[in-house]
Point group: C2
Chain length 335, copies 2
Amino acid sequence: MRYTVIGGGVGCARFVSGLREHVRREEPDARIDVVVNTADDWWVSGLRIAPDHDSLLYALAGVNDRERGWGRSGESERVSAELAEWGVAPGWFTLGDLDLGTHIARTAWLRAGATVSDVYARLGARWHLGVTLHPATDDEIDTHVIVDDGRRMHFQEWWVRHRAALPARAFEQEGIDLARPSAGALEAVARADVVLVAPSNPVVSVGPVLAVPGMREAVAASPAPVVGVSGVIGGAVVRGMADACLAAIGVETDAAAVAQHYGARASGGLLDAWMVGLEDAASVARVEALGIATAAVPLWLRDADSSARVARDALALARRARSAGSAGDPDARRV
Amino acid sequence: MRYTVIGGGVGCARFVSGLREHVRREEPDARIDVVVNTADDWWVSGLRIAPDHDSLLYALAGVNDRERGWGRSGESERVSAELAEWGVAPGWFTLGDLDLGTHIARTAWLRAGATVSDVYARLGARWHLGVTLHPATDDEIDTHVIVDDGRRMHFQEWWVRHRAALPARAFEQEGIDLARPSAGALEAVARADVVLVAPSNPVVSVGPVLAVPGMREAVAASPAPVVGVSGVIGGAVVRGMADACLAAIGVETDAAAVAQHYGARASGGLLDAWMVGLEDAASVARVEALGIATAAVPLWLRDADSSARVARDALALARRARSAGSAGDPDARRV
């Protein structure tokens, strides 16, 4: 079996860790690919930073800082203090020393002509991840946020500096119109037995992956069922500030509302199935009514066991969606 | 008075520190400029490194590692270890964390369109140096070494990795033919009251500065006397491995031989005057015979006092050279 996950960042990392754990325990021959959002990558201090990718890389390698929730464990910030002295780093964005090694390597490779896919492969080769990461696109995308007073700022400034507290009016992905999906991303989607949409930020992680021209079409054309996992449980985001992003696009912070935002595949949307937390069991019928197979399960990704269970539940839901309708053939799918 | 020093690296830093000390004590209105060699700058790990400049910067700022002789004091190497893991740094070239801050800033500025002169100005503004540093050129030069077995390697590889132990056949400054002197360097030379050639490596520090097309001519045209300070004392280099460089160009490691290599200004060479150590008093007559005013003085730059004395002696020798001949008019100069 081949499982392809779409997402990025810490929520995705936790879900993929669970999927990897499930595969290790029960399907050792299965393969896991992740199509990773690149739209919150940015240039700072002359270096290319890729937050969604690096969160995945570090977490899957087991070198992430679990307490802080981002970056490397055992991190220090000696270089960052120097960059602040030189005035080349915004004071609100801290680059750890170990983390900087990654950014310097990535930037050196990119400057030497490597693609983002090449960079992913080189970074991924350091540890035994058990998972293959693909950028959604090799082309450069930069997300900017238009805030309510009309100011336009880089997504990272809005997200990190302002903690997403400035009401946002819109997100603009600069460069996305000319971007093309990476070969690895397309192949991972086309050959997937199940496509899983991670409990990542629907607006700035999952959204931009699908907005790369050709990617939404590739997912729609995949014979695999598409199962989404809600990152909203009981009306609140599990982590991060996705609620601020959802508000900006007029979507309620609610598991059913996110499913509706993604849409039923049978109606030209993304999802064959949607998995919500037990806390949202009451909304199952509402999502099912959209034409999306829905299950409410214990959704908290607390540890290896609970995360593996969530992955197993998602795959069971995929089987249910597959048997209910012939994926890839919307007319044959149950509504 | 305006004193312009030509050189780069630690030997230059010690001499300039002494000159600055002398100026502070006895000529508080005097100005010091340094025209710095850029030919051993290089790209490593995607970052632009400028060893001759940074040695000067750190030493003049008082943040240099005096015991080790290079880099920042209180240095650590966390990022460097990561770069080695990523395979983007040669194992033989260590980049300290604090030092990396400088390289990241420099690279970011250069990538954003700053000139090397701009970078010098920004780096120099952090501390009160009391000295203005100018790159010999804003154009990129890379020095390669041809070793006896015919291999060609970057100067830093030869210098740092092989500790200059592979006999060298030639040094090639890639890009130097198309380089032009920086505006700051030209101005510092043209307006100097005394031009001082630092006790830097004659082959790979002083040599490339003068080899930038137009620079040797600018020094020759300067009305100021040109006084060189020997970096060879008693037949040995004071520090570093300049002897290996001198051997490659067929010059003996000898104070008089270096003076002869630089040549008398009256005969189309560089020097009006040459200052050697007491250890080389016997060679004074030989250098004088070349048409170069020569003095033997205590030349070891041990501390603030001894370094200031060396600077004072060099300036006294400049006055002697100036009174002996009308600088800038070779015909009027004593031979």
